[in-house]
């Protein structure tokens, strides 16, 4: 799958196409093997995934999330700047009235930081070695909780 979606490109027809997820790399870290693997796994599970490439500022990420009306934001950082950058994204989402969008994160995040980030408002932390199957299952469960009807999913092409 060689999809590219630049920020702010075509909006798809409403929410009937399944979940729309923004995968983003805040900060200066260029290691995006993990982010791309997760993006691809979510897309193969039928979700629409927007990956905006490396070196995004928290402002850029939040503006994409709001413009694209995403269901969830996934952030990845391996440079150790996660505490500052993830919190900044959450602050800006809240400020932009989009605090309800769940933010999940991954990368090299020590357990102590993971706990604090969750207290701050991160919905889940997926550390190194997490299976993409677990991530897909978690995302589906979170976006379509038990009892509610899961939105129809169109398989990715």
């Amino acid at each position: 799958m060689e999809s590219i979606r630049a920020r702010g490109t075509t909006k798809l027809q409403g929410r009937t196409v399944g979940f729309r997820i923004l995968v983003a790399k805040p900060g200066l870290d260029g290691h995006d093997r993990g982010a791309k693997t997760v993006a691809r796994a979510l897309a193969e599970a039928g979700m629409e995934v927007i990956y905006t490439g490396i070196r995004q500022t928290p402002e850029m990420i939040v503006s994409t999330a709001i413009q694209e009306d995403v269901d969830m934001v996934g952030l990845s950082c391996l440079s150790g700047a996660h505490n500052t950058l993830f919190r900044h994204v959450i602050d800006l989402l809240r400020k932009g009235g989009a605090g309800q969008i769940p933010v999940v994160v991954g990368g090299s995040i020590p357990m102590m930081d993971a706990k604090e980030l969750k207290e701050y408002g991160v919905a889940e932390v997926f550390g190194p070695g997490t299976s993409t199957k677990d991530i897909v299952a978690w995302v589906k469960a979170r976006l379509a909780p038990e009892g509610s009807q899961e939105r129809p999913v169109i398989p990715a092409t």
Binding site: R33, A39, A81, M111, G127
Partner: protein, 558 residues
């Protein structure tokens, strides 16, 4: 030949009697195939060498001689072991200086300066984009003032080698080294500097580019040209397969993409009239060493051979013995797990052993806690001791290239060389590395192979101890290195003070000369050297170059 017919018959018999039943019981892919997807037979015999047309003199030869399959050094490690390097830098220049002094006191031969991301991207510590990144993956260097602190009490000619991950900013780093050596009063010809300066792999894999590919390449070859002319014994180019492999490439792609990069540097250096002999003799190659033991050993042997053969063919080098280079093997960060981190000590030991069996010239051992944080002093010491044990206790240094002639290793070496040659051919057909970067070829190839490898782990085809098998509930590692958040402010204050105290008119004038050099396409190193000596910052010099060259933006492929 009668004896071969006999061997063929005996092998058939052996297969019928012993192999079939076990093969039919469905071995998993991780057992049959290497990490790069090369299928391995259960047994190798002289018949396999015959099949590949193996010729000892042509394909292997002697160490120190073309095609260098057996290594660069005629006597391998008998005279001295490989150079043991450590990559280090965090917090600020003062903290890092303490780590360097410690490493030297523990017997490290040299070190590689880890620069933080803002520095590698030409941003000063007070740049808004540097938020949260200062001192995290390396040391922040804003100006010559930080260099003075970084090497306080360490004359630049003391370590056997000082290297750096300066790529997009390599002319500035070169200028910093020269300016500091002059300040320290150290003779420049006694220093052994190695500058990574491989900016092309930043576009392919690592992401730390600043300017578009063409001017970036030109900055790299400015560094090569300047060193070839003034300091021919330094190593101004380390071509990196490491980051390409870590981003998901297989072993054959690691070889091919690195050689394709090298060709781009050599072609551009020839355009700038660089003495090709000096360039070739100063080359270093940085490759990963992963855990797929025999494939990695074969990879290093195939790399040396394909490199020598490709360059010989392409540039008609009169003395083929020039076609060797130093290999720096860096144990693969991607093989380290956050789970059960003590297991990483074993992984690193195996990777160092493979590197030594493959005759690598410099070896860097990673630390057990690297999947979680910048390594602590204790874990760095552990990895240095790992190298020292392998070099001194195992006997690995007694003979050169001890696995040469192995039916299996020679077959694998030839297979990898062939696969790499095919990839290289495709890139050259596309018009070379720059064109392949522009078309997104590398990024797509890497995403594809990274995803496939991850799938194999998740399907259980490949076992990762502590991750998909032998999993246990565990306590978090208690000792983790934390960069004190105060250091970020301290660094910003230091920078402010510098801007107030220096001769700002001289800085502006020197930056004007940098701009002029970049615009008129002459070598930028002399003007950058003057700017560095005037205490212009890395961010100011890069901002000047950005005005001339523009910035590169890449798209998010996955």
């Amino acid at each position: 030949m009668g004896s071969d017919n006999n061997l063929e018959r005996l092998k058939c018999e052996w297969e019928q009697n012993s192999v079939r039943p076990s093969l039919e019981h469905g071995e998993n892919k991780g057992i049959i195939c290497t990490s790069s997807g090369i299928e391995v037979s259960p047994l190798y015999t002289p018949l396999d060498l015959e099949r590949i047309g193996f010729d000892y003199i042509r394909d292997v030869g002697f160490p120190g001689k073309f095609p260098f399959t057996r290594g660069k050094e005629p006597l391998g490690y008998r005279e001295k072991p490989w150079l043991m390097l450590q990559y280090a830098g965090y917090g600020d220049a003062e903290e890092t200086n303490k780590r360097y002094r410690y490493l030297l006191s523990q017997g490290a031969g040299g070190f590689s300066v880890a620069l933080d991301l803002p520095t590698q991207l030409g941003l000063d510590s007070d740049d808004p984009l540097a938020e949260g990144e200062i001192g995290k993956v390396g040391v922040p260097i804003d100006s010559l003032l930080d260099m003075e602190t970084l090497f306080d009490g360490i004359p630049l000619n003391k370590p056997q080698q000082i290297s750096t991950t300066a790529n997009a900013i390599s002319p500035i780093w070169l200028a910093m080294l020269i300016a500091l050596a002059e300040k320290q009063g150290v003779p420049l010809d006694e220093c052994r500097f190695r500058i990574q300066n491989d900016v092309l792999k930043e576009f392919i894999a690592r992401g730390l580019y600043i300017f578009p590919p063409e001017p970036s390449l030109s900055l790299s070859t400015d560094v090569i040209a300047y060193c070839a002319e003034n300091y021919p014994h330094w190593s101004p180019l380390t071509v990196c397969g490491y980051h390409i492999r870590e981003a998901g490439a297989n072993a054959a792609q690691e070889i091919a993409f690195a050689i394709a990069d090298l060709i781009a540097y050599v072609d551009d250096s020839i355009r700038k009239n660089v003495n090709l002999e000096i360039l070739l003799q100063s080359l270093t190659v940085l490759f990963t060493c992963g855990i797929d033991f025999f494939e990695e050993i074969a990879k290093f042997r195939a790399l040396r051979r394909l490199w020598a053969r490709t360059l010989q063919e392409r540039y008609s080098i009169s003395d083929p013995d020039l076609l060797s280079f130093n290999i720096l093997s860096f144990s693969a960060g991607s093989t380290l797990t956050a789970q059960q981190p003590l297991n990483n000590i074993v992984r690193v030991a195996i990777e160092v052993l493979a590197s030594a069996l493959a005759g690598c010239d410099y070896i860097h051992a990673s630390s057990m806690d690297e999947a979680l944080c910048t390594p602590t002093e204790n874990s760095v010491k552990m990895s240095l001791r790992t190298q020292q044990i392998i070099a001194n206790e195992t006997g690995v240094r007694r003979t050169v290239d001890p696995l040469a002639g192995s039916y299996f290793v020679e077959s694998l070496t030839t297979e990898l060389e062939g696969r790499a040659k095919d990839y290289l051919h495709s890139i050259l057909e596309m018009g070379g590395t720059i064109r392949a970067i522009e078309s997104g070829y590398f990024q797509k190839e890497l995403s594809k192979s990274a995803y496939e490898l991850n799938r194999q782990i998740e399907e259980g085809d490949r076992v990762l101890v502590g991750v998909n098998q032998y999993v246990e509930e565990e306590e978090p590692l208690c000792e983790l290195l934390r960069v004190d958040p105060i250091l970020e402010d301290k660094q910003k204050r230091k920078l402010n003070k510098l801007r107030e105290g220096r001769h700002n008119a001289a800085v502006r004038e020197s930056l004007g000369r940098v701009r002029k050099a970049a615009q008129s396409q002459v070598n930028v190193v002399p003007s950058i050297l003057e700017a560095v000596k005037a205490y212009a910052t890395v961010g100011e010099i890069c901002a000047t170059l950005r005005e001339v060259y523009g910035e590169h933006k890449s798209e998010g492929y996955y």
